[in-house]
Symmetry: C2
DNA sequence: TTTTCGTAAGTGAATACTAACTAACATAAA
DNA sequence: TTTATGTTAGTTAGTATTCACTTACGAAAA
């Protein structure tokens, strides 16, 4: 199914964990090899460079996210707001299960040094943006959302609010309840957006 | 006035610019010295380590931001929303004048490798949060803001929306008009919050 | 004369990556 | 069934380069 081997996935997950725990500066081929219990050259059997590990890791998450969100099945009784709730719930659940991912995909700045990497992060952000924009458009068209604010601006506010919630959760050391807080913030925004 | 010498400020600004242009990975003592036209050991005359340059740089901006925001003079006719507009306008103006700052203070992740540095970034974020929280509390108390949402959640949404706007501006290569777009987003949020 | 601010020329440690080799195993011709 | 050949995934022991930082010294202002 996946285009990656088991060993490659193991390496990518170890890299994600190390970045999450100690930052990108501490992700070296040496430490990464030690984490997995292999020698340094062994890693080069599976990826041709360190950059390729990072690039693959981002691509891997992008694929996962796309598949996951597109396979969410909405009920016929769901409102447009319910659909948005389902999308973010799925995201927050993934982050809660694998907190290390957040450190990697929310970090435009750590990949600033390499164009291919920062482009890949931008692609992931754009993908999420598309889903939200589509939802907002739909909600305004079917009259479930008010039209106080334009589609683009509303999308910025929604994504911004959710990102901020994730960031605070991360800075708290993952101690707070991300799913609960994310729900509070999203419901807050929907309370202001939904027509009554 | 400042606790920093001219040379120190010159070094901190050069460091900020280099991080902004090429990322933290490219900020080395060698490249930094070349930017200023000095030798490497000369930098050590002014800062005792590379980390101290970064730490000072963050402290320098924190001080600047605190002074700047606290010296904003509100008119008696200003609504609570106007006060919030003035605060963010001041921030966005600073970012527009010196875009490099954004790369440094919006980057929790790039300083992940050092606790003192990430703490300093958190302090800057907390400071901004305080100003917004105070404003939201005041607005709800004096009846200018509605009470659909709690103070903390509303603060998260506002800061999140503004951060997202700045991030998009940064990813656009500073090509969009930050002040204008920030105003649009803030006005959008206020439209939903203000009592009519 | 002392202090300040600079330089040239290093240091040891760490980094991404490579060279050369091998054990284990699969495939298929003899 | 044995033997030859190739592949996969690993090893040890390096390479050149880059890094933050230091030592020892010079010039010139106070």
């Amino acid at each position: 199914m996946s285009e990656f081997t088991d060993r490659q996935i193991e390496i990518m997950e170890a890299a994600t964990n190390r970045i999450s725990k100690y930052g990108i500066q501490n992700l070296t081929i040496k430490t990464l090899a030690e984490d997995i219990g292999l020698s340094e050259p062994a890693l080069y059997r599976h990826f041709k460079s360190k950059n390729e590990i990072l690039l693959s890791l981002l691509e891997y998450f992008k694929m996962e996210m796309k598949n996951r969100i597109q396979s969410i099945s909405f009920k016929p009784t769901d409102t447009t707001a319910d659909e948005l709730r389902a999308i973010f719930n799925s995201q927050l659940q993934t982050f809660t299960d694998k907190p290390a991912i957040v450190s990697v995909i929310f970090a435009e700045s750590i990949f600033h040094f390499d164009e291919s990497l920062s482009n890949k992060v931008a692609e992931i952000m754009d993908l999420m943006q598309e889903y939200v924009l589509e939802n907002v458009k739909k909600g305004q068209e079917n009259g479930q959302y008010n039209k106080l604010i334009g589609v683009a601006t509303l999308t910025t506010i929604i994504i911004g609010g959710m990102r901020m919630t994730v960031l605070k959760w991360k800075l708290s050391g993952h101690k707070s309840n991300l799913i609960k807080e994310g729900k509070t913030v999203l419901d807050g925004m929907l309370k202001m957006i939904e027509k009554k």
